[in-house]
Every structure is written in C-alpha cells, then in structure tokens.
C-alpha cells in the first residue's frame, strides 16, 4: 500500500474538507428536490402530505444556490490560497474555522425554518412575504461567516507579499483576493437589508418595510452573487486547466487584468434584474444596462484566453491545420472534460445573459422559465461542471488518496449524464419561456386556454432532463464519497499552472488595492446614489408582512 500524501498541511486539508462535506450534502439534498420539482410540474405526480411545491423549491434554491456554491467556493479558494502561498498560520486557521461554524449554524437555522414551513419564501426571500426571524438570522450568519473566510485569504495574501518582497504574488492567490473583495463589497447590500430591514420587521419592532429599497439592496448583491459563482470557475480555467493539459498560463497579466475588470464592473449592474419594476427611473436602468455590457468584455477576453491556451498547447504537440489542436486535448481525462464542457455551455449561457440584460427586451423573458433555463446553463452547468472537475483531484489530494482510473470513467459518465440532462432540461425551459411560461410555478392549467396548455410538452421534457440530472447527481455523490473515504492511499496532484518562461512580469499596479477598491466604490456610487435617493425620498407607505403559504 502506498503512503498517503496530502497536497496541503494537515490542518488546512481538514478545514477545506469540512467545507466540502457541507457542499456535497447540499448537492444531494438540493438536486433531489430538483427532480421532485420537474416531476410535479410535468403533472405526473402530486406531492404527498400537504408538502407544497414552493417549500421544495425554497429548499432547492437555498441549498444549491447559497449553500453548495458558498461552501464549495470558499473551500476551493482557501485550498488554492494555502497551496500557492504555503499554508495558513494558527490564527488564520482559527478565524477560518470560526467563519465556517458561523456559516454552518446559519445554514442549519435557515434550513430548520424552511423544513418547518416557516420560511417558504424562495431563495430570494422578497418582502413583504415574511419568513421566521431565524431564517433571516441564519442568512446573516452565513454572510458574516463568509467574510471571516475572506479576511483569512486577504491576510494570507498580504503575508505572502511581506515575506516575499518584490516577488509577484501567485495568480491563484491574487484571484482569490479579487473574488472575495467583490463578494464582501457586494454582500454588504444584502447584509444591510437583512439586518436593518428584515430582522427588525420579522421581530415586530417595526411594522412595515420599504419593499423597493429592500429589492434594490438585494439585487445590488444579486448580480455580483452570480459572479461570485463564476469567478472561481475562471480561476480554475486560467490557472489550473493549463497544467492539466500540460501547457502554460497563456498570459498571467491578462488574467489579472480580467479579474480586475470583473471586480470593477460586476457590482454596479443590479438594475438589469429590476428592469420591469416600477419606481426606478428608465434613465438609470439604461445606465446600468450599459455597465452590464461592459462586464461582458472580461468574459470575452476569458473566452479567447481559453481557446488560445488549448490551441497553443495543441500546436506545441504538433497539431496542424485550423482545428487540429482539438484532437490533442486529453478528452479521456475527466479533470479536463468536465470543465471543458462547462466552458462550451457558457456560450449559450452568455448569449442568453446579454439578451436578459438588454433593457426593454427583458420584457420578453422576464420571470419566465427562460431565466431558469439560463442560470441552469451558467451556474448549474458551466460552474458546476468546473467544480466537479476540481473535486476529482482536490478531494483525493486533500485526503491523501488518488483519483483512480475507474473513478475517472465514472466521472466521464457523470459529465455525460449532466450534459445530456441539462441540454434537454435547459432547452425546454428556454423555449417554454419564449412562449411565456412563468418560472417558480407549480403545475397549473390556469384558465384552461390553449396558450398555456401548449406548455405541457416542455414541462414533460424538463422532467426527463431532470431525471437524467438526478442520476448524474447520484454518480457524483458516489465519486465524492469514494474519493473522500475509500480510494487507495497515495499522492494526487494539486495542479497549479506556471506562466510561460517568456511571460512579462505582471505590473505592480495590479496589487494596488486602494486604487481598485476606490474605483469600484466610485462606480457603485455613480450607478446607485441618485436612484437610491429617489427610491427613499419618493417611497410609498411601507408594506406589512404576509405569510401566504
């Protein structure tokens, strides 16, 4: 038997694995709810024991959109921070553990309220639907806990700079800092509405709530939230993927520049989720639509960098012709295949995103199931397949085990199931959305008209896709459990790519944090100050809480 060799110091491995257990438990629970939803909505089953579709949907959204993503991302970023900078010290690790426990307690508190049917408000918890106060306190704990994890990453990055004066910081460490900065600046918005608006209101200290202000604060956070899901996937694509295919980082400087652009422009864009809402001036909606289009540019740069990474490596291996490099890619390696398919899904995902954000065009698709289809392409496929691709090496490298050939085969099966299931489900959702089918709705025949009846076949297709995805989830859970507890002991590589020898040293300006934070805040103030003053000044009488479930 081989000796178990871990890729991180023991304490850091434990910390990261603690995050991973929560993440994959969330996957098991959340994806099971997803299956039930698609079946219910196809009209094939009726939920027993008075359980409502919306309670199941709340579990699905909270557990996958907030718990799985946050725990996986923080775990992965702590791991890459530790790997590239040389491990955390005792203080840093303790703070991270406190953050972890805060998030876990918060999650359990919110989950208990959802299971007791005290918080069937979906994962967006729009007021004036009023959940139990413990639901809101749970959410606040998750956010504040995540900040502690973020501070640990900032501190470790700063310590690296101090210990290695004049040296460039590791790319993964830099990207982790950018991602957490964006997350902390953005989640202030949701923290403010939860702590200062919703908790006092749910406790009965104040009678009413300013609904539009609360929604605006939520969406100030809500769009950067999706970038918080995406940026760790970009981290993997830029800084790990090249190593898996045996190549080098295409451009260290451009990667840093891309992340800085994402930091600057992913926050002042929340109005593109509120385009059809009353109470916000159309001029300011359009300003934020323009800013939304700007944040597309770093993603376009990412697309080029990825193709270039693959093409450069393929040509190094002797590929000929325009697309010969595709043949040189390690297709049979699930660590490559899963994230690669994730990237491909970002093409229709990105196209759909631009459509959603196109001002009045949003009326065609707003709150239709097209939107659900859209984010099942982006977060549930692009991001999730990348995360699964990460898990295949990260989990065994943390537990001192190896990703075996058999598991690789299962991982390829997983990737195929996920791809096929998501293609069917998401395509059906997009089409039904264009026909007007609403999102977040239980099975219904509405007024019995022909237009709504035509949605039936699409809902059936979603149930088929959902069933395939459920199988894919089961395979993923089996792989995770095997890699965490049963795989043969040994040493699994934690792949970290190097910039090419010829690479120019990234400019010092990238580490000028006061500058970037300053510009970020300036853009936010520009995009939000006047509309927020307007929203507060011309607010109608507040709304009382309702519990309509």
């Amino acid at each position: 038997m081989n000796k178990a060799v871990k890729s991180l110091p023991n304490g850091d491995s434990k910390l990261v694995m603690a995050h991973m257990y929560v993440a994959f438990t969330a996957l098991l629970v959340g994806a099971t709810m997803g299956l039930i939803q698609t079946l219910e909505r196809s009209g094939a089953i009726t939920l027993p024991a008075g359980i409502s579709y919306y309670q199941i949907l709340t579990v699905h959204g909270v557990v996958l959109g907030l718990v799985l993503t946050t725990f996986f991302i923080l775990g992965f970023m702590l791991a890459s921070q530790s790997k590239t900078t040389g491990g955390f010290n005792k203080t840093e690790r303790t703070i991270a553990w406190i953050g972890y426990w805060m998030m876990l307690v918060g999650t359990l508190s919110a989950a208990t309220m959802i299971l007791l049917n005290e918080a069937t408000v979906l994962f967006t918890f729009y007021a004036p639907l009023q959940a139990h106060v413990l639901f809101y306190i749970g959410l606040a704990l998750v956010i504040v806990g995540s900040w502690l994890d973020g501070f640990v990453m900032f501190k470790r990055h700063a310590r690296f700079r101090k210990e290695n004066p004049g040296e460039k910081t590791p790319l993964l460490s830099f990207m982790g800092v950018v991602t957490m900065l964006m997350w902390q600046i953005a989640s202030l918005g949701v923290a403010i509405t939860v702590v200062f608006q919703m908790i006092p209101w749910a406790l009965g200290w104040v009678e009413t709530i300013d609904v539009l202000l609360s929604r605006t604060l939520f969406w100030y956070f809500g769009h950067p939230l999706v970038y918080f899901w995406l940026l760790p996937a970009y981290m993997m694509w830029y800084a790990i993927m090249p190593k898996i295919i045996g190549g080098k980082i295409f451009s260290d400087s451009l990667a840093r520049f891309t992340f800085i652009l994402l930091l600057l422009f992913s926050i002042p864009v929340g109005f593109h989720h509120q385009l059809t809402e009353p109470g916000i001036d159309p001029f300011w909606k359009f300003i934020q639509v323009i800013l939304t289009m700007v944040v597309v540019i770093p993603s376009m740069m990412t697309a080029f960098s990825m193709f270039a990474t693959f093409e450069a490596r393929g040509r190094e291996l002797g590929a000929k012709g325009l697309f010969g490099w595709l043949k040189k890619m390690p297709w049979k390696d699930a660590r490559f295949l899963a994230p690669f398919i994730g990237m491909l899904f970002f093409i229709p995902g990105g196209a759909g995103g631009i459509i959603n954000a196109s001002n009045q065009m949003n009326q065609v698709v707003h709150n239709t199931i097209w939107v659900t289809g859209h984010f099942h392409l982006t977060v549930a496929t692009t991001v999730m397949l990348t995360f699964f691709g990460i898990a295949y090496w990260l989990i065994p490298s943390l537990t001192g085990r190896i990703f075996t050939k058999t598991m690789n085969k299962w991982a390829i099966v997983q990737t195929i199931l996920w791809t096929v299931g998501m293609t069917i489900m998401s395509a059906a959702m997009h089409w039904q959305g264009l026909l007007g089918g609403p999102r977040r709705s239980a099975y219904s025949e509405y007024a019995g008209n022909a237009d709504t009846a035509a949605w039936g076949p699409y809902q059936m297709a979603q149930a088929i896709g959902g069933s395939i995805l459920f199988l894919g989830m089961i395979v993923m859970i089996i792989i995770f459990v095997y890699l965490a507890f049963f795989a043969p002991k040994g040493e699994e590589e934690f792949p970290v790519a190097e910039p090419s020898e010829k690479a120019e040293k990234p400019s010092k300006v990238f580490e000028n944090w006061p500058l970037w934070i300053g510009i970020t805040c300036a853009l936010i103030l520009f995009a939000y100050t006047i509309p927020l003053i307007d929203i507060i000044q011309s607010a109608p009488p507040g709304a009382k809480g309702f519990k309509l479930w």
Partner: protein, 160 residues
C-alpha cells in the same frame, strides 16, 4: 500588457457588437418611446380601492380606439372587473394598462406578448400596449406570491 493581435480583433469585434445592441435598445427606448415599465406613481398599498384609478377595475374606452385597462392583483386573484375573468379587447387598439397589488409582490405577464411587469405594494405599474394579433391570451402571475401563486390567472381575448 501585450495582447495577441487576434485577441485585439476579437475584443474590437465583440465591443462593437455590444455597442450595436446598446444603440438598438437605446434608440428604441429613448427615441421611439419603448421603455421598460418604470412608472414612479405611488399609493397606499392598504387603500388601493380608495384610489380613483382602482375603484372600479376593468376595461374602459377613453378615446377613439383607445382604452384604459385597470386590474387589481391580490393573493391569489386578478380583479379584471368581470366575474368570468375574461376581458375582450379590440385588435389594434391602444390599451393603457394600470395595475397594482394590495398585498405582496405579484407578476403581471400576458403570455406571448410584451406585457410583462412587476407589481409591488405601494407602486402603480403602467404599460401601454397594442395587441397586434387576435387570439386568446392568458394573464399569469410570474412572481412567487404564496401557495396559490400558480392559480392566479385571467383571460384576455383580442377580437377583430
């Protein structure tokens, strides 16, 4: 920073595309008046029925081929002024739609048309639409509002 020339071509091409999209929607919104619904008129959400506009919901002719359609949304119902919840609208007429909610946030979507807006307590949502094609359309709620959310609907018949 050194950028490959093909990457520069791609960034120029992509940025030009985005600019084109922005110009199309911008001209359509600010020159041709096709803005997303953004009415900033407020009212007391607990006194909706006392507001002049919402005393008697339903369809009223207000001019030559011009109508006012007022609808009050509440959990889990659209009050369109008729018992069978059917509204008949002449094809090609200009229809000014005003709606609001008496309780939580609702959606207001006439499936298969561009009429799609949020109803929020305290705000009146308005949108002017011309129904170009005859047929039967369903008004559905597209924002979760509670356990009966999927039961909220009404019928809009666009007649010749």
């Amino acid at each position: 920073m050194n950028m490959h020339k093909y990457e520069k071509i791609w960034i120029y091409f992509g940025s030009a595309t985005l600019l084109f999209f922005l110009i199309v929607v911008g001209v359509s919104a600010f020159y041709m008046g096709s803005k997303p619904p953004s009415c900033a008129v407020t009212l007391d959400p607990e006194r909706v029925r006392e507001h002049a506009l919402f005393e008697e919901p339903g369809l009223k002719q207000i001019g030559d081929n011009e109508y006012q359609l007022t609808i009050v949304a509440s959990a889990f119902n659209y009050d369109v002024g008729t018992d069978d919840k059917v509204v008949q609208i002449p094809k090609g007429a200009t229809v000014h739609i005003s709606s609001t909610t008496t309780d939580v946030i609702h959606g207001f979507e006439i499936a298969g048309t561009n009429v799609n807006m949020m109803l929020e307590p305290g705000y009146i949502s308005t949108y002017t639409n011309t129904f170009k094609n005859a047929g039967t359309y369903t008004l559905v709620c597209n924002e979760y509002c509670g356990v009966g959310h999927h039961l909220m609907s009404a019928t809009i018949e666009v007649v010749e």
